[in-house]
Every structure is written in C-alpha cells, then in structure tokens.
C-alpha cells in the first residue's frame, strides 16, 4: 500500500512539472506586456523596462522557468512586484475560499446525489426513477455559470433570502456559510446529477449480487440491506469520481467566484492572466496542481482502504 502511494506521488510530481511547463508555454505564447498593462498610459518606456527587469521578464523563458521551479522547490514562489508581497502569501490567502467552495459543492453533490441515486435504484423503472433520471441529466447539462446567475437572480435579488456577493464577515461562521450556499450550489449542482447516476448504476449492480440475495433470503429488513450492505459497496466508485470532480469544481469555481464576487484562486488566476501577472499565474497554477494531485492520490488510497479487493490487488 505504501509502495502504491509513493508511486502515485511520484506520478503526481511528473504531472505537476508537466502542468507548469504547459502553463509557462501558454502564458508566454499569448501576446501582451505585463509592464504596459500594470503601469498604464502614464508610464515611460524606462519605467516599463525597469518593471520588466524586476519581474525577470528580460531573461529567456527557459531561464525564467528554471528559476521559478528551482525557487518553488525551496518553497519560494517569488514576489509579486506590484504589491511587493510574496506570491505564496497572495495565493494561500485565496486558497481557503476556493476550498470552502469545493467542500460546499461536494456537500451538495453527496448529500443530494447519493440519496437520489439510491431512490432511483430502489424504484427502478418507476415514475420516481424516471423523474430522477431526467433531473440528473438536466443538472449535468446545465453549465455552472448559468446555475450561478439564475440562483443569484432568484434567491438573492428577487427573494432576498441569501446574499449576492462576497464571502461573508471574517470570523463570523454563520455569515460565511450563508454566503457559501448559492456559489457552492452552482459548483456542485452538476455533480449531484453525476453522483446520482453513478450511485444508481452501482446500486443496481450491487442489489443483484449474491450476498444481497442471501441477506434477503435470511429475512433481513430491506432498509438494513440497502444501508448496511448495498450502499457501502455502491458508494465506492463515487469516491474516485469525486477525486476527478474536485478538478472540475476548481474550474467551475472561476465562474462562481466572478458571478458572486467571491475571493478565491479561480478569480485570482483569471485576473492575473488578464493583466499578464506571470508570478501570480505561475504560483496559483502550482498550488492548485499540487492540491489536485494530492486529492486524487488521497482518493485512490481511500478506495484501497475501504475495499479489500483493491487493497489485495496492490499486494
């Protein structure tokens, strides 16, 4: 198991390196000059040159990459030259907001997706199953930014039940949770559909298994069969799905953070790219890639821990 985890981590390191190389290539291939954008029309050519020098943009791209990567290995992501703040600080103070958004999205998707999938499986072929099927596909099909805009219009503007912008008052958990409801729903809604479809399919397969038939033959109550035996097995693929889903939720968070004017990594990167703020883009991509890789490794390990068959396959 440990060997397997180490293998996954090694693969993760390769993914991080590749993602950073891709990011560097893409950001530097698009035209634009961060110094001109940052300093505005009143800056003289000398001032722009000085800023480019401070940002290290006077060096070849490969050297910038090597310098960034070398420093990153020592935990230093450089300094954001406009505000003179360490890039790591800028990124890390935004990360918790995105994590909260993703956890909120997962909560929505798990809390609704698993019961819906169970109900659909138990009522297989019936009216309820069909309704849940239609709802699930609809939730998958609607883009997160559409959910964000319409939920904001309905629940914040028209009904005024929930706040429209921001992340809530610092230190006030109730306010922060209140501000999290709509954005996390926007991020998690599609995954309610995915998870309900996944749980339904797994449940159907599990309910046909011989040990379930045996349990029924022994007269165990149906709810016990479903909760204790079937659901536990049926939910395992959901963990792997969520590992991948977190990556998608990271990208969905960009829309949610912009529409709801929330702080977060997505908005930070979006704004940084639009002004070619390379140190912030690099730092944020590195941190999010590391996070994504770790989540997937953790999901794989968790599946291994929960399922003895997977565990034995490692050995």
């Amino acid at each position: 198991m440990i060997r397997y985890a180490l293998k996954r981590l090694w693969l993760g390191a390769i993914i991080i390196s590749f993602a950073l190389m891709m990011m560097f290539a893409m950001v530097y291939l698009i035209p634009g000059d961060p110094a001109s954008v940052a300093l505005g029309p009143r800056a003289t050519p000398e001032m722009k040159e000085a800023l480019r020098e401070r940002m290290g943009l006077d060096q070849p791209v490969w050297r910038q990459f090597v310098n960034f990567y070398g420093s990153a290995l020592h935990g230093d992501l450089g300094t954001e030259v406009l505000s003179d703040r360490p890039v790591l600080n800028v990124v890390m103070e935004q990360l918790p907001f995105t994590l909260a958004l993703i956890i909120g999205g997962i909560t929505w998707s798990v809390a609704l997706g698993i019961p819906l999938g169970c109900i659909a499986a138990v009522r297989r072929g019936g009216f309820v199953d069909q309704v849940i099927g239609v709802l699930s596909v609809a939730m998958i099909a609607v883009p997160s930014f559409v959910v964000a805009i319409y939920s904001l219009l309905v629940f914040a503007v028209a009904l005024q039940w929930l706040p429209a912008i921001g992340a809530g008052d610092p230190g006030n958990l109730a306010s922060q949770l209140q501000h999290l409801i709509l954005p996390s729903l926007a991020v998690g809604l599609g995954w309610i559909g995915y998870i309900s479809r996944m749980v339904r399919a797994s449940m159907l397969e599990t309910l046909e298994a011989s040990h379930i038939r045996t349990a029924r033959a022994f007269g165990l109550p149906e709810h016990r069969i479903i909760y204790t035996y079937a659901l536990r097995i049926a939910v395992l693929p959901t963990i792997t799905l969520l590992g991948v889903g977190i990556g998608h939720m990271l990208s969905s968070s960009v829309f949610a953070e912009i529409v709801f004017a929330r702080p977060g990594i997505g908005k930070l990167v979006y704004e940084a790219i639009s002004v070619r703020n390379y140190p912030i883009v690099s730092g944020a991509v590195l941190v999010t890639t590391v996070f994504f890789v770790l989540v997937n490794v953790a999901a794989d390990i968790l599946v291994g821990l929960l399922d003895p068959r997977v565990r034995s396959s490692f050995n």
């Binding site: 634009g32 300093l39 000398e46 039940w161 004017a261």
Partner: protein, 519 residues
C-alpha cells in the same frame, strides 16, 4: 424499503420548510450599523495593489488614498469641477509660477509620526516629481522647480513654468497628497498595501485582499468628519455583478453598466436614486496612417464619411450616451461644438471608387467588451455599405493595450482600432497622447504633426481659459483633418445609491468618499 421510497412531503415538513425560508429572509439586513454609526457599503471596480500615491495604479486606489492621507486640497462634489482646502488652511496662487500654502495646525499622522509639517509637503511633492523615483505621475508636477519651506507650517511651491492642470488634475488628486517624510523614509522610500502615518478624515482599518477594504472615521481628525462611521469598499470588477449585489441589498452605492442605465431609470430598485453623469472619457475609431490602406489620406477621409457615429453610439450604449465632437468633453476648455467631417456615405463611396479600393478588407482591433463589440459591428456594417470589408478582432486587455507598441511588431499590421482613454478635468490630459513622441507608445494611429506638438506644449502652460479654448479646439481640428480619427463618444456614467444616502459625486460620477453622508 419504506424509508427510501416514501418521498411524500408531510404537512409538518412543509411548515418547517416555510419557517426555515422565512428565517433565512430575515438574516439579510438592509441597513448596516457598527457600534459607532452607519456603515456605507460601496462597490469599487478593482482591489488595491499599493496605497502609495506616487505609484498608484488605478482610480480605486486614488479614491482610498485621497481619504486616508490628507492632501493640500480635495475635489469638491457637485455639477462643476472645483476644490476646497483640506490639509491647507490657506492656499493661494501668488503668480503663475508661485503657490503659497499654510497648513492647518493640528493635522496629525497616525502610528506616532507626529504633526504634518511643510517639510512633509516638500518631501511628498518633490518625491513624485523626482525622475529618479520613476513615478508614473511625475508629469503632474512636470514644471515643478521646488517646494520652499518657510516655517513649520508654511511654504511656497515654485514652478519653472506656469502649469494649467495644477488646480484641476494635480493638487486635488492623489498627486497632491501629503505623506509623512519620516514614515516613508523609514519604510525605504515606498509605501505598500499597509498604510502607515495616515492623516485623513478616514483611516484604513482592515484590508482583506479581493474581499473588502474597511475605512473608519479617524478619531484624531479635527475638521468636518466623514458622514459614515465605516465605509466598506468591495472590489467587484464586473458592473453587472455590482448591480445584482446592490439589488440584493449587499451594497448601498455602485456604478452601473451603461447598458443598464435606461432600464434602471425606468424601473429603479426600491428606494434608489439612479443618476446619469457625463463622463470625461473619450472613445474613438482610429486609423494607422503608416499601414495600408490608411497610408492613403483619401481612404482615411472616406472612413470618416462612412461611419454613422450616432448609429454606432446608440447601438453600443443603448441610447444612453451622446456622440462626441472630439476628445475633449463638454464643460472643459477646448470642447468643440461640431465635427469637421460627418456621415456622408455617398461621398465615401465616391472616394473609395476613385481610389480603386472597393472590396478592401480591413482588420478592426477591439477590446473584448460588449459595447466595443457592438460599436465595431455597426462600423463593420457602415463600411460594408460603402464597399469595404471589416474583420473584427477581439483582444483581452493584456493583449489589446500592447497592440500599437513600438516594442512589438503588431503595429505594422494594426489598421483600425476602437479605443477608449479615461480623463482628468483638464484638456491637456486628452491631447497628451497624440504627440509625435507618443508614436508607438499610445499614439497608435501614428498621427504626426509638428504644429500639434507645438500647440499641445503651449496649452499646458497657458492659463487664460479663452486662449486655451482656442488652442485645444485647433488641436482636435488637426487630428480630424489628418483623417486618423472618428470621434465616437464620451460615454456616460451610471450610478445608483439608496435614497438614505447623500452621495458625494464628482461631476463625472466618480465618488468622493469624504462627502458621502446619510440623507
């Protein structure tokens, strides 16, 4: 089985749900109060990156520095541009090149940096003007000779030459802000995002990046206090998000999208004032005279005749903005009453036919904003009507603002652009970007006129408004006669705020936070 399959909603469950929704609706208060008084919640279009007036990057930073650091004078809100003393007890222009000031006796800096003195005024002004500091705002003090300290509170600002924008876009802006010499020196010459030695009517209490900036009344400010105990400034880039935040009750004041103005005026949110203010900014269609086909002056003139400016502006701004007669907005010296060349498609067709340029395809570069795209599409249709094809190329801001730079190669392909510059209330701010030394910097049309450069320099030091009016009108005539420009609009600024707020707005709709008061 029954637990999972029984999905009926009970009466008790329904009542519980309704109760929960009712409770939720009470959680979002519409009036915010702190322990010390009312809180004003406003939208700003960007977060701060520095609070150093010398190196400010955008207007939202200026809005904040103008209230946490006292300047000699401050812009007054209202319908016309004006100023009033702030840190200065008296300030007088003795002659075109000399300004005498005396500071108020009891303005203190926070963090134990003592009283504001004339030495601080000298330090702050000369710091911006000093070329070694490379401030983007050095031009605001372009003709400064020195600041002479007479005594603890008095001094004289000496200029090398008269400087017309001094009282409009230098002294009342953050370029006239006074910082503590001791504090900035201790910080190594530069202020970051953590303000030290604040001195204005408000002080910055808290900055949460990308979330909000909280200003609170300065307890040591001895003069007219700010109207609100706290001002919460929320950085929201998107105007529509700001509008929705306002309509949801999370904001008390916001700028609106131009496209929303007519809707909001017709059906404003409850208890809301919707205000439309003329903007100083200018939007134009530009043609690069160093690149074919616009190296042909007749082609440039044909485009000037071909564009129906009213149709362009009506479509792009939903009828809320008027067409421009130049780059200098109404109310400023140099504003022209009419254009030299107006919509005449028949004439345009004749000229294009004579030059044998019918069927030519032109690229039009724009910033990827909705109103620019709409404007570009109407231009495309207008030019199609006279036999020219237009390909619209949308660019993000990082790309767009470098298109005409001499450092790159794209200026050799750049044919037409729709661009927009923001402005300060002095005509010199409009014309400064079209001189020959700006070619490849901000003069992307590569308009080149010796006469223009000469007159532009004269306008900067001429103090007589009547003479300046003549100079700046002539400057715009030269731009239009050369054919590089189709002046489109000055846009319009939409603002909405609660009727419980008396908003302190500059004539162009920008906020003066010190002058926001409860109504």
């Amino acid at each position: 089985m029954s637990i999972l399959t029984d999905t009926r909603v009970s009466r008790r469950g329904l009542l519980a749900g309704a109760g929960a929704f009712g409770l939720a609706s009470m959680v979002n208060p519409k009036i915010s109060w702190s322990a010390d008084g009312p809180i004003l919640k406003v939208r700003s279009y960007a977060d701060i990156q520095t609070l150093d007036p010398c190196f400010r990057l955008a207007a939202p930073e200026g809005d904040i520095t103008s209230v946490i650091f006292a300047g000699l004078v401050v812009t007054t809100p209202g319908e016309s541009w004006g100023w009033r003393p702030m840190a200065a007890e008296t300030i007088t222009q003795l002659d075109p090149m000399t300004v005498a000031f005396k500071l108020r006796d009891n303005i203190g800096f926070t963090d134990g940096y003592g009283q504001m003195t004339a030495e601080d005024v000298k330090f702050s002004i000369e710091r911006i003007a000093d070329p070694a500091n490379k401030s983007p705002y050095a031009g605001d003090w372009a003709t400064l000779k020195e600041v002479e300290v007479k005594d603890k509170l008095s001094g004289i600002i000496h200029l090398k030459q008269a400087f017309a924008p001094l009282w409009t876009s230098t002294l009342p802006t953050p370029s006239g802000t006074i910082l503590s010499k001791k504090a900035i020196t201790e910080l190594g010459g530069k202020l970051g995002v953590k303000p030290v030695a604040q001195s204005g009517p408000y002080i910055l209490k808290e900055w949460l990046p990308k979330q909000r900036t909280v200003l609170v009344r300065n307890p040591d400010w001895k003069y007219e206090p700010g109207g609100f105990a706290e001002i919460h400034i929320h950085p929201i880039e998107d105007e529509k998000t700001g509008e929705l935040g306002y309509e949801a009750g999370d904001l008390d004041y916001t700028w609106t999208a131009v496209s929303s103005i007519s809707r909001l005026k017709q059906t404003p949110p409850p208890k809301t004032k919707v205000v439309e203010k003329p903007s100083l900014a200018f939007v134009w269609l530009g043609m690069n005279q160093d690149v074919a086909p616009f190296n042909n002056p007749n082609m440039r003139r044909a485009v000037q005749y071909a564009v129906d400016r009213k149709a362009v502006v009506d479509a792009a701004y939903f009828g809320a903005a008027a067409t421009a007669t130049g780059i200098i907005a109404p109310g400023l010296p140099g504003h022209r009453e009419k254009n030299l060349f107006d919509y005449d498609p028949d004439r345009a067709r004749d000229m294009i036919a004579k030059e044998g340029l019918a069927g030519t395809t032109i690229t039009l570069d724009i910033l990827n904003k909705t109103e620019r795209l709409t404007a570009a599409q109407v231009v495309q249709s207008n030019l199609q009507d006279v036999g020219l094809n237009v390909e619209i190329k949308q660019n993000d801001s990082g790309t767009f603002w470098t298109l005409g730079a001499k450092e790159g190669d794209y200026w050799k392909k750049l044919q037409m652009i729709i661009s927009r510059f923001s402005m300060q209330p002095d005509p010199s701010w409009a014309t400064a970007w079209f001189t020959r030394d700006q070619i490849g910097v901000w003069n992307w049309e590569r308009f080149s006129s010796e006469e223009f450069d000469k007159l532009n320099a004269e306008g900067m030091v001429e103090l007589d408004p009547a003479k300046r009016d003549v100079i700046y009108k002539k400057l715009q005539d030269l731009m239009e006669e050369n054919g590089n420009y189709v002046f489109l609009t000055h846009e319009v600024t939409g603002v909405m705020y609660r009727d419980s707020v008396a908003a302190g707005l500059k004539p162009n709709g920008e906020p003066v936070f010190t002058d926001f008061k409860p109504a």
